[in-house]
Symmetry: C2
Subunit: 390 residues, 2 copies
């Protein structure tokens, strides 16, 4: 936990002097739309007056729900209707809401590993069992999933939810093929599994449009998609959304949390709707894409130059590159020396369940630094490799 | 659930034409500090720049934590240190966090009834048992609590948490005496019970300072206090806080939800800290107090005039009056006619567990309307009583 109270830093990420820190999937602060959001706040308060400060509509601020429906019509293969959307306080709170309202104690949550390490923490805070499912370069392996589900059922367990990140995956950057998406959705529907699809990175596509979401391919109500504005606008607003069947959306909006407090983050959500309506949202997404594309390219280039024997599948979007180290170059030993050289990454182990077998790999985020800093980070990583190899 | 999407109302409360609706514990929108918060947003964004939009410190925005510590030094018998505070997305989310992180499946949550109906919903969304404990005009009855806890233990149940609202109670408006507070905290410590103290109404005291919180009287770590800015500033900001032992505060800040998303509502929290630092917070609390005191007085006056045979203990703070109806005047029959006459309230039943025995009483909120509207509402209630009595 971070320090608190007087003189504590405002943000979650606290810089370490002399270290270029690629461990954190945070946006480059210099890209964040401070002025535009300040102006949007002004306009939203002029437009709505005290209604922006009262308890908000339980499913979420209606103009933001409208915007989400309109935007997904452009970025996904199917647009939700307003009664299929619930605003959340970021993707994290969407996942927490799924765990609280849709899971029963003792049910099993499947996660295709490697996966977002803090989603493991969120589900782990609930009284469910966690079960890893293997994945390959194209994402979750369906035969393995079927085998794991069958084995669980044989043992009297209740596999209920699959948490997965099919698009611009964290930590690997990969996207699941359309063929496998379709098969996965069909398998979930057939097996009565609910998929919690983490769709956080949809807007950050650098080489063409993103693939359709699992949610868009599903006509059986087997998918709850969790979206976020943390990567497309600003994480500090704490805004995300869920798209689901009207039944699930209603269950969420009628749950105690939203019934008691009104819609999640009503003030910030209504500000964001105003911001989006002005066209600022689209301009910001373009700005992020242009910057992150360059950052990704420079990081990949640096890797090719400085770690020519490491393996990396270039990500088509998102924040992360996943690097498989060559034999003989231990990721933990490398991490210690890299810090001394002035750069940091996360080892693969962090993205597996406790006790799971992790590859000799690492994750680097290219989101938080400009290209020249990323280049310098990789030079330092290269120096750490040379030092480790003696 | 409220309507969604285009043309849906922004707020949770949707006015019903011709009805003065005293069923809702919402603030009077004309009292909300729209302009001051707009200016605070401007200043906070100038001061913090992109730091206000990044992932925030996990326990919550440090300047807001500082303010909470300083303010509780003035309004409570003991001030927390910063490591005892966690910012939440309103009291509702504080309760949800307590349920997720501090309760195990099958444990029993005790609630002294009547109690806040949506807290029942929040706990009910978690896999715990709910058990009512009787209360009298001075709040929870300790002998009854001891009897219920002993009976549960005898039956092999695990009473773990007591949810209680000792100060300006919702729905009854009453406050628990200092003597009973002290005894309650001692009992909880002795029995290994955790008390979730809902302290939402602390700032809204109309006849002198509020009593000390249970949290301030506890030196055994038996109390988690849940505070809110929904009633002292604006509900739409979705901001509240928890004060607890450093161990519990750390458990919350290190949980998956806050580790993944950063501090709750970082943007709004940092704006609120700026607002508070200017003195606007104190001015707003005074403004609310002055307005609500008049509203309370007018409602009580109207009751004495129009329902002289009903019983009501004048509340020293908060939003609510609780009216015990005279024999022969059924609360449900009265409710139906009252709506036709153009006013609404909530029947006592709503504040008890399902199947619990509720008195022939009702709750009215005096928070949302100016005095003359409250007077008119009670005239209409009087007309409904006359009509019901034929």
């Amino acid at each position: 936990m971070s320090e608190r109270g007087s003189d504590a830093p405002l943000g979650q990420y606290v810089p370490v002097r002399g270290v270029i820190d690629l461990a954190w999937g945070h946006p480059d602060p210099t890209l964040l739309p401070v002025q535009q959001l300040r102006e949007a706040t002004h306009r939203a308060m002029e437009r709505h007056g005290p209604d922006i400060l009262e308890y908000g509509s339980t499913a979420g601020s209606p103009p933001l729900i409208d915007f989400i429906c309109a935007r997904l019509a452009e970025t996904d293969a199917r647009a939700p209707s307003p009664d299929q959307v619930v605003i959340t306080s970021g993707a994290s709170q969407g996942l927490d809401l799924v765990a609280t309202l849709l899971l029963k104690p003792g049910e099993t949550v499947l996660l295709d590993v490697p996966t977002y390490h803090l989603a493991i923490s969120i589900f782990g805070d609930h009284p469910v069992r966690l079960q890893a499912v293997p994945s390959d370069a194209d994402g979750i392996v369906l035969d393995d999933l079927a085998r794991v589900v069958a084995a669980l059922r044989r043992d009297g367990e209740r596999p209920r939810l699959l948490y997965s990140i099919p698009t611009f995956h964290n930590p690997t950057g990969r996207s699941v093929s359309l063929e496998r998406r379709t098969a996965l959705v069909a398998f979930a529907a057939e097996q009565g599994l609910l998929i919690a699809e983490d769709d956080t990175y949809r807007e950050l596509s650098y080489d063409g449009p993103p693939p359709p979401s699992l949610w868009a391919l599903d006509d059986a109500g087997a998918v709850v998609r969790i979206g976020s504005f943390a990567k497309s606008v600003a994480p500090g607003l704490r805004l995300g959304y869920v798209t689901a069947t009207p039944e699930i959306a209603t269950r969420m909006a009628n749950g105690g949390l939203l019934d008691s407090g009104g819609g999640m983050n009503h003030f910030a959500a209504t500000v964001l709707a105003e911001y989006a309506a002005s066209g600022d949202y689209l301009r910001q997404v373009e700005r992020f894409r242009d910057a992150y594309r360059l950052q990704r390219n420079r990081l990949l280039q640096g890797l090719a130059t400085n770690l020519p024997d490491a393996t990396c599948v270039p990500p088509g979007g998102g924040f992360f590159v996943w690097v498989q180290l060559p034999p003989g170059l231990d990721v933990d030993a490398l991490g210690s020396i890299a810090i001394e050289e002035g750069m940091a990454f996360l080892p693969a182990r962090r993205f597996f369940l406790d006790g799971g077998e992790a590859p000799n790999a690492l994750r680097m985020a290219f989101s938080m630094y400009p290209p020249e800093m990323l280049e310098e980070a990789i030079v330092r990583l290269g120096a750490a490799v040379s030092q480790l190899r003696g």
